[in-house]
């Protein structure tokens, strides 16, 4: 009788010890995560990082350096991105890129934040333009300027106004990859039916309102998604800055200017469209307005050039798609659009060899041929001027003249701090706050001015908190 419970006890003890040690190791991992040092950890992770790359399940063939690229290109954009990766992997035998779709820009960035102190993060990540300040402040990246300087890489063939956006304090931090701007999409057939000139798209707020009123009488109003990006673009299109201190470029921004005249003017116009039912509100998702536009339920919409290919393809022969510049208030001649889209960032917690491999891939993506393919497959415009000399681009522009609009709009934009784009560390939050303000104004729960004043105050508070935590 005696030995039995003893045995039982021992096995329980064993299990308990096992459990405890498992928990302890989990704890150790967590402790490592919350540790502070980045430099030390980076070098410590070198050996393990490259080791796991070789021993991992879908490891690169022997002798190849593996680059893990996180991107946010879903749907047809994802297919196009995968094609570029396949092209690159086939083009040489030194580097193997593995592309992983990580959800929207927001989701991908959050996953990266969570992975920052571990080895599970990417070596290269695509981050939307408004995440730039955060990426720099995070201290987790290697500026591409280092690679540029090391080999005297020639930047002169790249579009200046695109490179400008990612230049901070005279330094190139990341490499643009997919760049877009917002354009007005309209249904030429519905324009004809409403007695409007299908070849003359509305260029000002007033003209757009008149057109929308005529179109809505025929049952097809306009609809713009409540997307903070549009507000940022409307500011730039009036030559107005979005935050103080030279749009946050001469010094860290301290104050939101979203309640200035440019914002009030824009939101009042937007609200008047909704109030007169010349436009309907389909919510925040551009995807919903896009679907309604493709289905012919909506006559005019705003969307990124990135959606051009998808829209033209899904409309097919149903109607003729017109594209035009982003409208601006009457009499406003300054400004232009800010480039949107995303750029590529090299993470600094990977071995140098791997970072260098990521740079090789970045260079491949910036090549005229690659950019040309990317441009016609998506609607993002090329980041290099040389891409326009490629035959496929010329053929595509002849077949789909709509692609020309974004390019012209980019080149027509006057370079200034306004069109260079605002910079702030809390941009993603600021965008949400502005979207809320637009909703409040459109549904009448607050006056236009009040909604914007409240938003400006909320953003200014957030910026204040952020600046407290970032030591220069």
């Amino acid at each position: 009788m005696k030995p039995k419970p003893f045995k039982l006890k021992r096995s329980f003890l064993l299990i308990t010890i096992l459990l405890l040690s498992m928990l302890a190791s989990a704890c150790g991992g967590a402790g490592g995560n919350s540790g502070t040092g980045t430099g030390g950890e980076a070098s410590a992770s070198n050996a393990a990082g490259s080791g796991s790359a070789k021993s991992g399940g879908n490891a690169a063939p022997a002798g190849k350096t593996k680059v893990v690229w996180w991107h946010s290109m879903g749907g047809e954009l994802g297919t196009a991105a995968d094609q570029l990766v396949a092209d690159f992997n086939a083009s040489q035998d030194k580097v193997e890129v593995e592309a992983i779709f990580q959800g929207t820009y927001d989701e991908s960035l959050n996953k990266m934040k969570a992975s920052m102190d571990s080895k599970s993060g990417p070596s290269l990540i695509q981050v939307y333009e408004i995440g730039s300040r955060f990426m720099i402040d995070s201290g987790a990246i290697t500026p591409v300027q280092q690679f540029i300087d090391a080999e005297n890489y020639d930047l002169s063939h790249l579009e200046e106004n695109i490179m400008n956006y990612y230049t901070f304090d005279g330094k190139q931090y990341s490499m643009p990859f997919n760049t877009s701007n917002p354009i007005l999409y309209y249904n030429k057939d519905l324009f004809k039916a409403a007695g409007l000139d299908p070849d003359k798209a509305p260029a000002t707020y007033e003209e757009l309102k008149k057109a929308a009123e005529a179109l809505s009488k025929n049952g097809a109003p306009a609809s713009f998604a409540i997307y903070g990006w549009f507000m940022e673009q409307f500011f730039a299109n009036q030559g107005a800055e979005y935050v103080d201190n030279g749009n946050g470029r001469s010094a860290a921004a301290t104050q939101s200017l979203v309640n200035e005249e440019a914002g009030v003017k824009t939101l009042e116009w937007w609200k008047s469209l909704i109030d007169s039912q010349a436009a309907i509100n389909l919510g925040r998702k551009t995807d919903d307005t896009k679907k309604a536009f493709v289905a012919g339920q909506v006559s005019m919409t705003l969307d990124s050039t990135a959606g051009l290919r998808g829209i033209v393809d899904s409309v097919g022969d149903k109607f003729e798609v017109g594209t035009a510049f982003l409208p601006k208030p009457d009499g406003s001649s300054d400004g232009g659009v800010i480039i949107g889209g995303a750029s590529l960032w090299v993470l600094n917690n990977k071995p140098e060899e791997e970072q260098q491999a990521a740079w090789e891939f970045i260079k491949f993506l910036a090549e005229p041929q690659t950019q040309a393919k990317w441009h016609i497959a998506t609607g993002y415009f090329p980041i290099t001027k040389k891409a326009y000399d490629e035959q496929i681009v010329k053929d595509n522009l002849a077949k789909y003249p709509q692609f020309q609009t974004a390019v012209d709009q980019l080149h027509a934009s006057k370079p200034s701090l306004a069109t260079q784009g605002a910079v702030m560390g809390v941009f993603p939050e600021a965008r949400q706050i502005v979207e809320s303000a637009i909703e409040e104004a459109l549904d009448g729960s607050k006056s236009t001015k009040q909604a914007l004043d409240d938003a400006a105050k909320a953003i200014t508070d957030k910026i204040g908190n952020y600046n407290k935590t970032v030591k220069k």
């Binding site: 928990l23 959050n110 201290g139 389909l282 919903d288 909703e439 909320a458």
Partner: protein, 318 residues
Amino acid sequence: MNTTVRNAPAPAAVAARSYKSAHRRGLTASLKEHALAYLFLAPSIVIFGLFLLYPLVKSVYLSFFLTDPRGKIAAYVGLDNFRQLLGSAQFWNSLEVTGKFVLLTVPGGLALGLIMAALAHSRLKGMRLFQFIFSLPLAVSVSTSAVIWMMLFHPTLGMFNYFLDLAGLPAVQWLTDSRWALISISVMTIWMNSGFNFIVLLSGLQGIPEDMYDSAKVDGAGSIRTFIRIILPLLSPTLFFLLIVSVIGSFQAFGQMHILTKGGPAGSTEVFVYSIYKEAFVNYQFGTGSAMAIILFLLILALTLIQFTILEKKVHYQ
């Protein structure tokens, strides 16, 4: 007084000492037993400590700091986080939205579960099939049902607007109109919670002895009277349990807001947990996020205590 007690040969200590010497063998045995008990408890204590106690303590600690863009502690701010919260309109709005959400979903969910349970409790043929159907929502995860309902709610392609159109009514912007969004989400949540409520209430109903119904029938009570005077009181422990669980559940609802509206439009569906999520995991402000989490913890604690002290008196235990 204290000193005299301390200096005097305390009778209790003397007694314990004699007890000790007399029962030394017994005591070591019981000590051993205690040790063994704690050994068995150790895994759950460790897990509890690691996943509940430590995060709670850490939250309290973090709530006094601001964090930098990487989520690391950057500055001590004392009670500023709480002060800033209490002064922010967003905070009060999310409390208000949460309150509305609880009021919309809890009674509705209980009523729907009760109706379905009463229906399924009848002896009609084919009720087993309905019992299965009624409990199905329980088997569907929040995210899955949110995606399904998102399609139903879709402004231009959704089924609801299609039916409204058939009926000649104007389309409703279910999720993008701030007057409708919370109601839409509540409807979806009520459906989602009905499965659990149904199962618990059905077993409660089945726990009521048959002779209760019989004697009520003999006494000439109609079905409504039977329900109000006999079934409801006997079900009250079950209902009380569900009420507490549903209130806590509603306070913690997150998935459906995250998928359907992201707290919009204009903050009309930004419940408290969603604000916490946004603050901590989108904005990486763990300090203010922790402060909010602590307020939520205290709020739920207070509400549960209130329910236990006031409502439990009305509960009838057989």
